[in-house]
Amino acid sequence: MKRSYLGEFEEIVLLTVAVMEGQAYGVAITHEIIEQTGRAVRLNQIHAALDRLEDKGMVKSEMGEPTAERGGRRKRLFTVTAYGRRTLQEIQEVRVSFWDRLLSPLKPATSL
């Protein structure tokens, strides 16, 4: 099966979902990404990315419990599918193999 390619942003979202292990939903993911990367991410971008990932079959979702701060509305909780996990691994492997072949590993620019 030909693998679907992930965009950089999608990859980050997918990783975040994987990291959050069953507690991943729109707002939580947004906050996590802002915290971890410092990017200015908007809620709708996260939703769009999740939608694409679900289309590609890399995450699946189910409705969770309602909470008061959501006005009694339920969350949609995302988990990474086996296919999504494998995709992440493959990306990682490709990167590692490139890093391994790099003879003089890149140093932070501060040394210059």
Binding site: Y25, L43, N44, H47, D51, T67, R73, R74, R76
Partner: protein
């Protein structure tokens, strides 16, 4: 209060929320809104209320993007409602529902098909009428020259034109006309080739006739008419005369004395042309050269011989009205003193009006067949309308039953669009089936219709216009009739329908009103048509029963194209009367059923000088009165024994009245330079139209050969035997002519053909209209009886009799029919009164026609409704009340 304040400020902006609800897909709304609210709460703590609210707006707007926007197809996987599979399903359901309600389906499809077939036939008829004469390529530039004279204050329009008019038009107004064509009357002539002889219609015409009529030449050329000894034959005549041999250059004889050579064959002129029976064209010059009186009329100064037809084709870019005005007075200006006293005018009568605008009333060309075109178009539309009304009526009536179906379909998940498609496809199916059936019916009834309407029409199977019209009609009807159930029923809320509240609310008294209006309309049309039919028939009967002044039983007449019989008339008479099969025979200048000759220029003692004398003048031989059976009121018949009778007149009663004579017999009447003595007065003999008063007529003994022989067959011998006998004698003295005869009573009956045609068509339409209306009524009654099953059951339990119940159900319909009757009466009366005004001799519209029609309509209604109402009333209440 603070609580309210707090709640208000703590919440995200409502307007933004509403916006979100508006565009966001419903299946996503919950999580998106939840996330947005959670984020708002978070931001509220972090950056304060005002900025959090702004941010909320900003976030909501961010969601206006393709993935989140409402898309119904994304919600569930719903097949496209015009997917082939769905259409198959719609049709299957439609067929099932048709098969389930066989009676309704029959009424719908059958009624609509009949309506469509009628509309189709009438449409074809109207098209045929409107394209009459279109065979002639220049039909919009061709005109007939007509002649108008003022006689006793009334303008008479006739088609006879003297030859000098043609010459003036050609010589002085030549630039206005492309062709000026003189023609003799299209009459029967005998054509002989060797031993083959036929009597065919034809005329003598000037050489540009083929071009004027745009005849299509099959063989030879039209230029033959320039020589005086040639003839053009139509294809069918050529085939009859020569069979398969080449007809060109063959020599034939006209009326056994004119030798002509066939120089051209033209395609038969089709049935829907004024010249349909112009079977041959002989050269005008031959006519002039061979006929003495025409030779005389050919003189430049003979303005009084109004005996010829004149056709013109206008030049391009010439205004017909202007030309007509230009030539209007030429006869007055050039004709001399004799002409001026009648103020003669000539006008152009355009070919496009010939067929449909036939009537001339006081010099104005108004009305005629066009009235029937209108009448029948309206009738056709009405019959079709009736059928469509049935369809809609039954659809609405049945909608209550379908309401539950709609509810369940919706509950299971049907979309409105699908329901609309379903109902529309059902109505299209019915319309489609009806259309096919209508085509079939039209094809099957075409021969009958052609016969009644005197047409030669065929179904235009290959005409794209026909199919376009037919299919677009189907589309419109399908949409119109299907739209009510489709759009109305599909709007029901399933929960209400299934609870049953809809039936109580929406199908109440008011809901039935449009249905009632439609029924009233149907019966108005039907009753009007029936009254119309009755009156038309009564008018025909009235005219048929009119005293005709002679006895037409066993009377045979023959048209003579050669003088042979006239020359041996005494011998013929002797032989025939001696044989005992014939009582009497005589010659005349007009057939017994028509007046061929009118004259002016009479004078008598005591004549009012202002009176312009216009008489029908019929030359007859001595025994004419005895042959046809004149009834004398005064004086005596012509007698062979009295020599002076050759200058004697027999007048009819109308003439005596017209002349104002107290003692007509013995009166001397001047005619030109001869004086005649009145020897007898007969009862009016009806010779022309049975609807007009009999014209003042003079019978006299002519000097030249007459064109008709009339024979009274001895009632003691059979007509067949007598005719054989007559043929033998005629062949003996006139061996060259074929033996053709007409019975006077059949010829006389032809005078009623037009009216009988209308009568027949009207009765067919009236029958169909009432049939379709009754079909609809039957369906409605059965529906109402079904709807009131429980009510009837309860009433029965409480002691109502069958009669009571019958009255209960029937009453509504009877009221509707009575209302329809009230509307139809004045309409029919006005319309028919106007129609009858056309006839001088007419029946009256008596009240009993309306009474009888009303009673009949009521009776038929009761019959139709009773079947259902009695059926409903007879049902055992146990059964009807148990049903739930």
């Amino acid at each position: 209060m603070p609580c309210l304040y707090k709640r208000k400020t703590m919440n995200p902006p409502r307007l933004a929320d509403r916006l979100l609800r508006l565009f966001c897909a419903s299946d996503r709304l919950e999580e998106v809104q939840g996330d947005l609210h959670e984020e708002f709460t978070y931001q509220l703590r972090r950056i304060g209320q005002r900025r959090a609210r702004w941010r909320y707006w900003w976030d909501v707007v961010g969601f206006i993007s393709p993935f989140a926007i409402r898309r119904e197809t994304k919600a569930y996987s719903i097949p496209n409602s015009i997917h082939p599979m769905m259409i198959r399903n719609y049709l299957k359901i439609a067929f099932r529902s048709l098969a389930k309600n066989k009676v309704y389906s029959f009424i719908n499809i059958g009624g609509l098909a009949v309506g469509m077939a009628v509309a189709l036939l009438i449409g074809l008829w109207v098209y045929d009428e409107l394209t009459f004469n279109a065979y002639h390529k220049n039909h919009d530039r061709i005109a007939r020259v007509v002649h108008q004279r003022t006689v006793n204050g009334e303008i008479l329009t006739t088609q006879g034109i003297p030859i000098p008019v043609a010459k003036v038009l050609q010589n002085e107004y030549g630039t206005d006309f492309r062709h000026v064509t003189l023609s003799s009357w299209n009459t029967r002539h005998m054509l002989t080739f060797g031993d083959t002889k036929f009597t065919k219609m034809g005329a003598f015409m000037t050489p540009d006739a083929p071009e004027l009529l745009s005849l299509k030449m099959i063989k030879g050329s039209p230029s033959g008419l320039q020589q005086s000894s040639s003839i053009l034959l139509s294809e069918s005549v050529a085939k009859a005369l020569f069979g398969s041999t080449d007809p060109l250059d063959k020599l034939i004889k006209i009326d056994n004395n004119l030798d002509v050579k066939v120089t051209g064959i033209y395609e038969d002129i089709p049935y829907n042309s004024e010249f349909q029976d112009l079977r041959f064209i002989a050269p005008w010059d031959l006519y002039v050269a061979s006929t003495d009186w025409v030779k005389k009329a050919n003189d430049e100064n003979e303005w009084g011989q109004n005996s010829f037809q004149l056709f013109v084709q206008l030049a391009e870019n010439v205004n017909p009205a202007a030309v007509s005005e230009k030539i209007r007075l030429i006869k007055q200006q050039k004709g001399g003193a004799d002409e001026v006293k009648f103020q003669p005018e000539i006008h152009l009568y355009p070919m496009n009006r010939w067929h449909l605008h036939t009537d001339w009333v006081n010099g104005e060309n108004e009305g005629g067949r066009i009235e029937f075109v209108w009448l029948f178009s309206c009738t056709g539309l009405f019959v079709l309308l009736l059928a469509c009304i049935n369809f809609m009526n039954l659809s609405t009536a049945r909608s209550e039953k379908r309401a539950k179906e709609v509810g369940i379909r919706k509950a299971i998940g049907s979309l409105r669009r699908q329901l609309i498609s379903q109902f529309l496809s059902e109505s299209f199916l019915v319309v489609g089936l009806s259309f096919v059936l209508a085509l079939l019916m039209a094809q099957l009834t075409m021969p009958f219709f052609n016969d009644v309407a005197d047409k030669q029409m065929t179904m235009p199977w290959l005409s794209p216009f026909f199919w376009l019209a037919g299919l677009s009609f189907c589309l419109i009807t399908g949409l119109l009739t299907g739209s009510y159930p489709a759009f109305y029923l599909s709007s029901f809320q399933p929960i209400k329908v299934l609870k049953g509240t809809i039936s109580g609310l929406r199908f109440g008294r008011m809901a039935g009103l449009p249905r009632k209006v439609l029924v009233v309309m149907q019966f108005t049309v039907s009753i009007t048509l029936i009254v119309g039919t009755v009156v038309v028939y009564r008018q025909i009967l009235h005219a048929k029963n009119r005293p005709i002044g002679y006895n037409r039983e066993g009377l045979v007449m023959m048209h003579m194209s050669t003088p042979d019989i006239h020359d041996h008339f005494d011998a013929v008479r002797d032989e025939l009367t001696k044989s005992g099969t014939v009582l009497a025979l005589a010659e005349s200048m007009s057939p017994a059923t028509d007046v061929w000759s009118n004259n002016t220029g009479f004078n008598w003692k005591g004549k009012d000088p202002a009176l312009q004398t216009d008489f029908a003048t019929i030359g007859v031989s001595h025994d004419f009165g005895r042959t046809v059976g004149w009834k004398f009121t005064d004086g005596r018949d012509f007698s062979r024994a009295i020599q002076t009778d050759s200058s004697g007149f027999v007048l009819n009663e109308a003439a005596v009245k017209f002349m104002g004579l107290k003692r007509p017999v013995g009166q001397i009447v001047q005619w030109g330079d001869r004086s005649f003595k009145v020897i007898g007065v007969v009862k009016d003999m009806l010779m022309s139209s049975p609807y007009d008063p009999v014209k003042q007529t003079i019978y006299f003994i002519p000097r030249r050969a007459a064109n008709f022989v009339t024979i009274r067959i001895n009632p003691a011998s059979s007509a067949n035997e007598a005719l054989q006998r007559i043929e033998v004698v005629f062949k003996k003295y006139n061996p060259s002519s074929p033996f053709n005869y007409d019975f006077v009573d059949t010829e006389y009956a032809l005078k009623f053909a037009a009216e009988e045609r209308i009568g027949k068509l009207a009765s067919v339409f009236a029958t169909l209209a009432i049939f379709i209306s009754c079909l609809g009524l039957f369906g409605l009654a059965s529906f109402i009886a079904e709807q009131r099953t429980k009510e009837i059951g309860v009433r029965k339990v409480l002691g109502a009799s069958v009669l009571n119940l019958w009255g209960l159900v029937s009453k509504d319909f009877v009221v509707l029919v009575i209302i329809a009757f009230g509307i139809a009466t004045p309409i029919a009366y006005n319309f028919l009164n106007k129609w009858l005004q056309k006839y001088e001799y007419r029946t009256d519209i008596s009240w009993w026609i309306f009474a009888a029609t009303g009673a009949g309509a009521l009776f038929i209604t009761l019959l139709t409704v009773s079947f259902q109402s009695i059926k409903a009333a007879l049902v055992n209440p146990v059964k009807s009340l148990r049903s739930e």
